[in-house]
Symmetry: C2
């Protein structure tokens, strides 16, 4: 037996940000491309884009911007607002898993 | 925006106990009947029964027993093991929501 926990943000009862979307943004940051981020998640560009648009509308902050083409052409990158949001979400979740795991060991073993 | 959190138990990567099944057991306790508990959850008796059987097999403890018929006939009730499990699960989850809410207020507002 293992214990699991999850933290997410909702707006009007609809999930708007959690682990999955956090991971999508992190992948865009890693790859500098929505397309590559979508592929590595196994979802379509269209789907990834719709997640981003919904998040931007609900959170009311820009998350992804196109970078200018240079050598190798342009791509997409996270905005400063997206980075700040990611950092805050990480702080929100930090240590919750550990608290729950520690309790589980004490209570159930 | 609101923050939400959830704690559950898995066995071999498969969820075996969380809020939903906790609620099912609590309803069986309240109604003294699997059938009434299932109705009030809007699921079939068969479905409720299969949840209980799977939990009993995975957790390796008896959870529900038939009580002897008396005035008003028999029914179902939780075993001592089920009660003990519920109490431990409650202790596991206790205050996690509050921690997450408190942090959310500090970090996001």
């Amino acid at each position: 037996m293992k214990v699991k926990s999850k933290v997410w943000i909702e707006e009007d009862g609809i999930p708007v940000f959690g682990e999955g979307r956090e991971y999508l943004l992190e992948l865009i940051d890693t790859h500098g491309s929505i397309n590559k981020a979508a592929s590595s998640l196994g979802i379509s560009y269209r789907k990834a884009w719709s997640y981003i648009k919904t998040m931007e509308e609900t959170l009311k902050i820009p998350l992804v911007e196109r970078s200018k083409g240079g050598i190798g052409g342009g791509g997409s990158r996270l905005t400063g607002e997206a980075r700040s949001f990611l950092i805050r979400f990480e702080r929100l979740c930090k240590g919750i898993d550990e608290i729950v795991n520690e309790r589980f060991k004490t209570i159930f073993k």
